[in-house]
Symmetry: C2
Subunit: 384 residues, 2 copies
């Protein structure tokens, strides 16, 4: 019985993680969880998983109210509460599905307490990759990726030696504007941008898919997860999003992991590793009704933020923090109609060019860089 601590239970990954656990109750139990502001959802979770012993929420007032309603559960709140929860000795695996920069500290805390981490929080590696690698070297902890691309690579690497790898090939759908030229991008609306061709996702990641910033983050994550240098991480346009990613080995053999998009697969793979089990109600890819898979070389002129992510990743330091935070803030301004689609790129390039570079940042430096980049973007947006 694996005891799970689930952070970010109300989000899409959190919800699907609970779905997986609820179908494998003999193998997993959720003993702790965090939820931000959605207290109604939290109550549903507690009804579903009465074995939960500790809960962290965002606000003190929710925490206080919950303490009286659930006297047998230990409640905490805020970022300190989250880190404290991750330092708990009772759990076996942290599933970190927190969204945003505040997911980094919990990841670091779990690793430094020798806990395994199933990671859905992109910022942990994009912002804090070098700190996490350092912590992993010093502790008995294993990192399992929870997203389709990195889980695909993790599956392809299985049983192979690290030095047998020639390159990683990360596939990209191309996002909502893949069939438009850069000239056409000048005029696109928020409405257009939020319409992803292959699936429904949150607003930020849908925009990050359209700018290919998201793929850039995945390249940086892959670098830290699999210890592969940036010049051996390729990106490839693949419209159907059925090949989730690939690994090319020294002997030119390529292994590709494919399937119907279903986030429960990478979640369950991380939870059960090294075992594989049926996924309740999943639909296998049916080649009989799939006529073709398409590929197209990545176009870095079309997607300059992807090229920027390679450069930022290569340089290291606090670049990931600036990149992530400038992007998050720029996308927020775009969604509010403050800036145009192409201005998202402009302001991020400016932030990377103008903000001071720190080669070996501490966690505090990363926090400061995050705040500085947000501030920079706000000022930039006000100016134009």
């Amino acid at each position: 019985m694996k005891k799970i601590l689930l952070l970010g239970a109300s989000g899409s990954i959190g919800t699907q993680c609970m779905d997986v656990v609820s179908h494998h109750r003999n193998d997993f139990t959720i003993i702790g969880l965090s939820i931000g502001y959605n207290i109604a959802k939290l109550k549903e979770c507690l009804a579903l998983f009465p074995e939960v012993q500790r809960v962290c929420v965002a606000q003190e007032k929710d925490c206080l109210a919950l303490r009286t309603q659930y006297p047998s559960i230990q409640f905490s709140y805020g970022e300190d509460g989250l880190s404290e929860l991750c330092a708990w000795s009772e759990y076996d695996l942290l599933v970190n599905a927190v969204v945003g920069f505040r997911g980094l500290r919990p990841t670091l805390t779990a690793i430094t307490h020798d806990k395994d981490v199933a990671l859905a929080n992109k910022e942990s590696l994009v912002v804090g990759g070098s700190l996490i690698k350092q912590a992993l070297r010093e502790h008995q902890s294993t990192l399992y990726p929870i997203d389709s691309e990195h889980s695909a690579i993790f599956q392809c690497l299985r049983g192979n030696e690290a030095h047998a790898v020639d390159r990683l090939i990360i596939t990209a759908s191309g996002g909502s504007f893949r069939d438009r030229t850069r000239e056409e991008l000048a005029q696109v609306s928020v409405q257009d941008a939020l319409h992803h061709p292959n699936w429904q996702m949150g607003a930020r990641i849908t925009i990050d898919s359209a700018t290919m910033m998201n793929k850039g983050f995945e390249v940086i994550e892959a670098h830290y997860l699999f210890d592969v240098p940036f010049d051996r991480i390729e990106t490839l346009l693949h419209r159907e999003s059925l090949i989730h990613s690939m690994v090319q080995f020294q002997d030119d053999a390529i292994l590709a992991q494919m399937g119907t998009p279903d986030m429960r697969l990478p979640i369950q793979y991380a939870l059960y590793y090294p075992e594989r089990h049926k996924i309740y109600g999943s639909e296998p890819l049916d080649f009989k009704h799939l006529s073709a898979l398409h590929f197209q070389a990545m176009d870095f002129d079309r997607y300059p933020l992807l090229r920027l992510a390679y450069e930022v990743g290569e340089r290291g330091g606090n670049g990931g923090a600036i990149l992530n935070s400038a992007d998050e803030q720029a996308v927020a301004h775009f969604l509010k109609g403050h800036i145009s689609f192409l201005e998202i790129e402009q302001v991020i390039f400016e932030a990377i060019a103008k903000l001071p570079f720190i080669a070996h940042p501490s966690l505090t430096d990363l926090l400061d860089s995050d705040a500085a980049a947000r501030h920079f973007v706000d000022e930039y947006v006000e100016r134009i």
Copy 2:
């Protein structure tokens, strides 16, 4: 340093095996080999690999002549010579690239002498699958597949547990007549049949690709190699022959092995297993210039011999011996213009229907079934 015994050195697989070994002389040495009638080629091999200590040829007269020319090498001849060579204690790995039914005894001999076998000889498993499985259970020997489909599956299975496998998916190019209807097949010429869309191969295997008999043999081989029941081995039309085969796991994850067709990859993979190394002069698959991969459901009405292979495989016994030998003989008659393309199928179906079934055949029974099927086909051809 792995000491290799190479049977069938003059054929395509044998030649490519020597190419692989010649580029990795610190890791492999060929200490023994067999060649049928091509004595000129044998002399080239001996010049390339002066470390060869034993050689088997087809005919006594060649054997006698060679003994005087190469006094330091031990020569033998014929099928007994071949089996004797495989009983030699000195080698580490048998590479069996013999063509045809006479490849079975050497495989069995090697296994019963606890030697590992890299198997390119299809008939070993198609005809003698159950005998080989029995021998493998009783001896310390590992079988490595040398052909692109089974090597692909072997690579996809790597690091995964056998019970995690849901199904194998073997890809098929469709052969030279894939774009013709069955009606059109009545009129096709030998010339047409020998023109494979994706590569150049020997005459029999090219015809076997067009009838899909070859894919049927591969299904039977896969059953014995990977212990997967026939109803969980699928075949899928894939025109480009770039995905060499796939494995679908219990969690619906599919791993596919892809690459530019190059037989040196499965050869080197078998020789070096579990290591992977660069292949001299190989060309990696370039997705930037590959626009699409196509798939189409297998059509068993279009390819009745494939359906027959499933039935014969499922029933076991001496069926594989009859199937293989009837096919070999029928293809020979087709190539000589004695029968039409569709009559290849007819005579094989007749042979399976009419010849006596033996549920638990000995090696002698298999030899007899092989001869009986050849004889049956000859008589059938004379009648029509």
